[in-house]
Amino acid sequence: MAWETIIGLEVHVQLATRSKMFCACPNVFGAPPNTLTCPVCLGLPGVLPALNKQAVLFAVKTAKALNAQVHPHSLFARKNYFYPDLPKGYQISQYEQPLATTGKLEIETPGGTKVIGITRLHLEEDAGKLVHEAEFTRAGVSYVDLNRAGVPLMEIVSEPEISTPEEAMAYLRALRELVRYLKVSDGNMEEGSLRCDANVSVRPEGSRTLGTKAELKNMNSIRFVGKALAYEVERQVRVLESGGKVAQETLLWSEKLEKTLPMRSKEEAHDYRYFPEPDILPLAIEGERIEALPELPWDKRARFKRVYALTDEESGILTEHPALAEFYEALVEAFPNPKTASNWILVELLKTFRPKMNRLDFFPAVSPKRVARVLSMIEDGIINQSTAKDLLARLLEEDFDPEAFVAQQGLGQISDEKALLAWIDELFERHPSQVNEYLDGKEKVFGFFVGQLMKMSQGKANPRLLNTLLKQRFDARKPAS
């Protein structure tokens, strides 16, 4: 039997505000435990929440970019449950009347563009963290770190319109890219600033009733989401095909075991007793306060393809981070060969940029003008490719004037025929057997000579000229036929 998969995603995005959601504590990752706390986020008796306006504006911005309907009035609510990382015994969230509803996000699939509906977008506060296994804990002891308690979160819930694990991954990539473009979050799944839960069910193809769904948690990267969903879909199909029933339950993805495992039922049996948060007045959003949206990733991508004649892949990578796209455009402005500029970024620079591109404040560590001047020197025949690569590597480390450096260090290409011919002759004398091999038709040996000559010229020989001259010299030695 053929099966159809139905996936809906709930994504939690930590907002990159300066302070927490309801107090003035800094919103930063990685500080020593419990150093970023105050009476409000510790939930001491008598404290009250004071809503962070920036968090609201970030959520509104995201909702607008998702084409969602932002409601002029929305409500905060309390979600009540006991857990040591939840200092007040309730989480301030939104339940009835969320900030925004009915949006959409376009994703790229092998079959083309697909639109995934967004059910709702709302604001809430993050909980703290339990530390179970740090080196300083005794066995069986857990510690509570409340630095994260009260960090602003935006929850984005998709419609169950995702049909494959790959689509789920594409959805997450698109969402991550969007929040980075909007500068509302660094969208970093490893540090937990973007977290994803998935609801997944399967049904016989063509069936109109939904199958029983399972909820998947604990997937700390987009890749794990893909793996967990693929595993779970297969598991559910196996259960159904062997005549069993899928249980409605919450499952945790275990990366170690590469399987989904049921959560203990006690942990999921919650009645959250939601009710309107009496400490926060209903949120009124006035349209005029919302700043204009920047060019969104999908629009930028289309423009790059069109204006710079790039492939899907090239424009996709170059627009992954707004700062990279900006870098590319500045480079093309100073060096108006879009294809070459793209190649150099993708091949030479990206590997240095990549590790930092998951940060909101990522900024290419080299000036696009400097890179443009290096590329222009290649075009002008002043330096060769390998010198250019060295120059770019150096420029990533420190800033300097590339032309002056080339002149000073004598890195310019050697296009002096006499000098090149002298090296060729010297080489032929040293390696007569290889010369004969070539003359006997072993053309592969040609590369050996090029390599040796580059070495002799310390990489500076003009490669095109060198090739021509080397061929000439061989031809001269060939017996006339």
Binding site: L42, L44, P45, G46, A50, F82, D271, R273, P278
Partner: protein
């Protein structure tokens, strides 16, 4: 030298400005009275003896230096133990918070401190402000200065008894369903619940967030106005506090109450209203009518639902507000729990008293899946109707008057086993909390047994000045029954 603890705030201020006495003398006189009388009354849970003396000495210097003195300068105040005062215990009358020391000042405390007030100590209360007699305190009941075998009312019973027995000049209380006004009536003093949002709740340990307000408990309406004025106003730390400007102090007495029209809700004259209470109210109204004030009947048709609505909303919010007391972070924590769940269960079973547990269970039930619509949601809807009743009534009248409580102060132990009867102590007061309106109780008479009777005045939102103006007029008409309390002799 006048008998310092018996002065009003205005008298204290003029004494200071004429340098007849200085803050340390005033504080010392109060501390002496507290030392002598508190063991019997149990009004204070903690007295800041040395802290208050140090502070008073600093104010002495300021007084000697000259310069303008604000109305709160050198005023000795008692603080209900539900408000955080930095560096001191804030127990809320509960074993749960017995070890808790507040690391910050409530916003109203900060304001009063900045204006030169001196805090004498923290006063007794029903646990987490839940009760009408102060018998629910984990630290023993407070006694009524007008009759030691009687309750002072609650939950701000300690503050009320402290003011009535002149153990402070004035006090702060909190009012969720009548917790300022009912004990004020029982102890023959003035108690004001301001409009919801008029005073910042930051630092007030929450009972029911949408109903709680901090307010003054004083000897006169004028004193209530002064203390109200000192703590009112917007606070960025409390989003529910209003940005509406607070009128200048003089403006709080700027209206002529002789031109007011007063409404008397017909629904309030029900079975259970004590005859003496009823007579006292009608006699006072007759005197007001004698001055040309119009009194007419108004209708608040949803009154019969107020107590039910109140107990659903208050307990629902409380069940959530009190969830943070789990033994993990601060306060009481049960020993030898083997699991997380056991820690929660044992801590909350042993840390909370009976009434608090009863209300947490009621509220948890009212918010539970399957009951939310029928209880909490329905209550929220009826709450709106109760507010509309008042809005309609205020189209016809400037203020509404009623008894504060259906009966004079009852005996210790009389109602503690019968929560429903106890809940009825609040029938005239809790509707205001639901509607967010300001209300003030002031003494109008004494019963044949010499017990105080209070009258409640209700004004539209943010119209507290009507309460003060009318209150002052009533005080002129009635002999303030505060005179002749059992503790009226100066303490040597």
């Amino acid at each position: 030298m006048p008998n310092l603890p018996f002065l009003t705030l205005a008298e204290l201020r003029s004494g200071y400005s004429r340098k007849e006495f200085q803050p340390s003398e005033v504080i010392e006189a109060h501390l002496k009275r507290i030392e002598a009388l508190n063991p019997e009354l149990n009004a204070y849970l903690e007295v800041f003896g040395d802290g208050a003396r140090d502070r008073a000495r600093a104010l002495d210097k300021k007084l000697a230096q000259g310069g303008p003195l604000g109305p709160l300068f050198g005023v000795p105040l008692a603080v209900k133990d539900v408000l955080c005062v930095e560096g001191t215990k804030t127990t809320c009358g509960s074993k749960m918070l017995e070890p808790f020391i507040a690391p910050y000042d409530a916003s109203c405390i900060r304001r009063l401190r900045d204006q030169g007030a001196v805090f004498l100590g923290k006063t007794n209360m029903d646990e987490f402000a839940m009760g009408s007699s102060t018998e629910n305190s984990a630290f023993g009941p407070t006694r009524n200065p007008f009759g030691l075998e009687r309750v002072p009312g609650g939950s701000s019973g300690g503050s009320a008894a402290a003011v009535a027995a002149h153990l402070c000049q004035a006090a702060l209380g909190s009012d969720t369903g009548g917790s300022i006004r009912q004990p004020a009536a029982f102890c023959g003093i003035v108690g004001l619940k301001p409009t919801y949002g008029r005073v910042s709740r930051y630092g007030l340990v929450a009972f029911a967030s949408s109903l709680d307000q901090i307010g003054p408990m004083t000897k006169t309406s004028e004193d209530a106005a002064i203390l109200f004025w000192a703590i009112a106003g917007h606070d960025p730390k409390d989003m529910t506090s209003s940005t509406r400007p607070v009128p200048p102090l003089e403006a709080l007495f700027g209206q002529d109450p002789r031109r007011f029209r007063l409404g008397l809700p017909k629904e309030y004259f029900v079975e259970g209203m004590d005859q003496e209470v009823r007579d006292a109210l009608l006699a006072t109204l007759a005197k007001l009518e004698g001055l040309g004030i119009q009194v007419e009947e108004v209708s608040l048709p949803h009154t019969p639902y107020a107590t039910a609505v109140y107990y659903i909303i208050a307990t629902s919010e409380a069940s959530s507000n009190l969830a943070r007391y789990d033994g993990v972070k601060y306060g009481f924590s049960a020993k030898h729990a083997d699991s997380m769940l056991e820690l929660y269960e044992r801590t909350r079973a042993a840390g909370f008293g009976l009434e608090v547990k009863r209300r947490i269970m009621l509220g948890t039930y009212a918010l539970s899946a399957g009951y939310y619509e029928a209880y909490f949601k329905k209550a929220a809807q009826v709450r709106r109707l109760i507010l509309e009743d008042f809005t309609r009534a205020f189209e016809k009248v400037d203020a509404i008057v009623s008894p504060t409580t259906p009966t004079p102060p009852f005996l210790l132990g009389e109602k503690i086993e019968d929560p429903l009867t106890m809940y009825l102590s609040d029938i005239y007061t809790n509707a205001l909390n639901l509607a967010g309106l300001p209300g003030m109780s002031l003494p109008i008479a004494r019963t044949g047994d010499g017990l105080p009777v209070g009258m409640q005045i209700i004004a539209p939102a943010f119209m507290e000045e009507r309460l003060f103006c009318l209150g002052r007029l009533i005080e002129e008409l009635t002999n303030p029954p505060i005179q002749g309390v059992p503790f009226d002799q100066p303490i040597a």
